[in-house]
Symmetry: C2
Subunit: 414 residues, 2 copies
């Protein structure tokens, strides 16, 4: 009876490939859907000077071609330990709670929000662009009560506004984005850790496009949670999200009344896989190649040293702007102290076709210059100075592409 | 005043590195946390014959060393299109809704559960081991009402039980795991698509350890959603989760009253990045290297052909068992038709130390044989026959390791 009804349900003409059936002896059809991929993958070379991904360091790419290890094998667990240690240096923390989330910066963001926000928690979001917008959205989805401190595009969130809001609202969490890549602003974090401790909030900071390019002192600044990305100043491919929690943030997570909605990003479980609690429990299959890449990325940070990395990024930022200013171009960001070093937003002058300049840069120089995003769309170009790409030759190439693109549109200011 | 209070909060002795300050002019401390990683990564060679990851194909590893492209660049979008097409073949579907989730199999699982389950939805979980357990847990976190059809370890979920439960409960979703790698069972899916359609349920199937190793006919079998893993029969590193939705499943997602709790895995947004709806909207930064790997993995599936892959896995499964039987070893799975080809569970005989045999295999032969997991822990060895590793030489090596390990413990049956 059962078999009969099944046979009826299979459209006529489908043959049974008994020899291909799994052990379960399913009634299988024929392979009638065709495949269209053939040949070896074709990847052109590009110089990625947009807001990321930046080009990865060749040593990091090479590490991704190494053979796999098991995700619970001791040599792989040792690599995970190296990542934790490398992140402690990179975040400048003594907290044992660092790891690489298996996923992109968005997964890092969601790991923080979903674990640090309990339903009904008050969340204050410093919202200076698209990343603030997303944290507002995410916090709502995890049932937080959000206060959206939205500032005009190109500005940062003023300390006084944050102070007032924290003192009035006493939220569970304050979010700020150190480097807002959609607008090109750098949020000053000075004094905010102290303020959060006083008012009982945890301080969560997005460092996706800033970590390794500008200073971050997690402990000295009193930051409680940070997520980042691999594909910006760390010079690795996208896919692994560095994460940091202070002991205070960890305590909040362990005191939760209900587990976070996401099992995949439950930091109690992931932390247990990364050895936060003295043992190693399987949660998911660690991203082996991506961990190799992150390990090499952090070794490179060590070899160069943080101070040297920060100086290099800063010097090239000035070199870029010296060139841009000489062409008569201006920053989208009014205040000098609000400007982000790693993602630079350049005002599109009136009468200039921003998209045509970008196309010319790619067609003629094989270099990516990006347009705006979210609140800056159509208003700016964005140039990234990040990690392996933060080298004089790349800055000169970008300037050449700008010069040529502007000339072709009849720009007279140089 | 503000600066004064900040200075108080910074412990004495920390100098200000003005030259390292970001544009924002933060008051920065000194780099006093030391780094401990040095030198180039060290990765030993292993033959991974456990339940996964299996060794990746060298051509796939090589693809991961290719230079990055931007996550919205046309050549990268073309690679994403190739992945969608390759997955249509691999799942045997004409549905346009295929993509690779940026994350491991767990992210794939959570993408399906979080999008297909609305708060209050009835979910019936065929629970034959650890993957069933996790879907029970995940469905509860996303506020589904779960009926847990738990069967004893080593058994599959009987058709009659499923039929009865679906007819009584009329759930929104039925979950089954095609290959339950914790116990080594293969769930027969025959007739279930039809049953689900009749009772109004969507059929979700886990194929993490089975896709490419045993038949899957998503359309012919009436499956509505599938997630899988990259690191098993597809021979790629862990990190990308193949995903399929039927038009019926897509409709349910688009009809949701509330968005899923997870923004990171919201399939409306991710699908929009993968071009499901005719355009390309940025959601997250696609995992570029991991996509290269998946593209090559699917090209290899194409070149070999599904029928050939299924036959190869089946033949080697028989070769393994011929050898194991000749040593007097037995399957953990009672019924022949319930046995999974890709992950084989071997009963540990009384008096034999399973861990010692595993250690001997690694120490002497550099080959991974795994122990049990969840309900099979301590009771079985697990041997994977998956993808690039499904080759005669590897099976012979595993058999040699078993023979040697048993001999050293005085096993007399051969």
């Amino acid at each position: 009876m059962r078999v009969a009804s099944v046979l009826e349900s299979i459209s006529a003409g489908i043959r049974c490939f008994a020899s291909h059936a799994g052990r379960a002896g399913e009634v299988v059809g024929s392979v009638d859907k065709k495949h269209t991929i053939s040949g070896v993958i074709n990847v052109p070379q590009r110089i990625l000077m947009g807001p990321g991904p930046a080009n990865a360091h060749p040593r990091i790419l090479a590490a991704q071609a190494l053979p796999l290890l098991g995700h619970m094998h001791p040599p792989f667990l040792a690599i995970m330990d190296e990542i934790k240690s490398g992140l402690k240096y990179t975040f400048q923390t003594d907290s044992p709670y660092t790891l690489m989330v298996s996923g992109t910066g968005h997964a890092g963001m969601e790991a923080c929000i979903s674990n640090l926000v309990e339903p009904g928690d008050k969340v204050v979001v410093g919202n200076a662009g698209i990343w603030g917008e997303r944290v507002v959205e995410m916090s709502k989805r995890f049932r937080g009560e959000v206060t959206d401190l939205k500032v005009p595009a190109g500005q940062t969130v003023p300390y006084e506004l944050l102070k007032q809001t924290l003192e009035q609202q006493k939220p569970a969490l304050l979010f700020l984005c150190q480097g807002e890549s959609s607008t090109g602003t750098h949020q000053n974090l000075t004094g905010l850790g102290e303020l959060c401790k006083k008012t009982g909030a945890l301080l969560l900071v997005d460092t996706v496009c800033s970590l390794g390019g500008v200073p971050m002192f997690a402990d000295a600044w009193g930051v409680d949670a940070i997520y980042s990305g691999s594909q910006k100043c760390l010079s690795a491919p996208p896919g692994g999200a560095p994460l940091f929690l202070s002991p205070r943030a960890m305590e909040k997570i362990q005191r939760r009344k209900t587990p976070p909605a996401t099992y995949n990003l439950d930091l109690n479980l992931i932390g247990d896989y990364w050895g936060w609690f003295g043992k190693r429990s399987y949660h998911h299959t660690g991203m082996v190649s991506t961990c190799y890449a992150m390990r090499e990325a952090l070794a490179l940070v060590n070899e160069e040293g943080l101070e040297s990395m920060w100086s290099r990024h800063k010097e090239l930022h000035h070199r870029l702007w010296d060139g841009l200013h000489s062409m008569g171009l201006k920053s989208f960001i009014e205040k000098d102290e609000d400007r982000l070093i790693t993602v630079n937003t350049i005002k599109v002058p009136e009468g200039i076709d921003w998209a045509a300049l970008i196309k010319n840069a790619m067609d003629e120089y094989n270099v990516e210059i990006a347009g705006g995003l979210g609140p800056s769309a159509g208003k700016v170009w964005r140039v990234g100075i990040m990690g392996y790409n933060a080298r004089p030759a790349n800055i000169e190439l970008v300037l050449t592409a700008f010069k040529d693109g502007l000339k072709k549109q009849g720009w007279k200011k140089f």
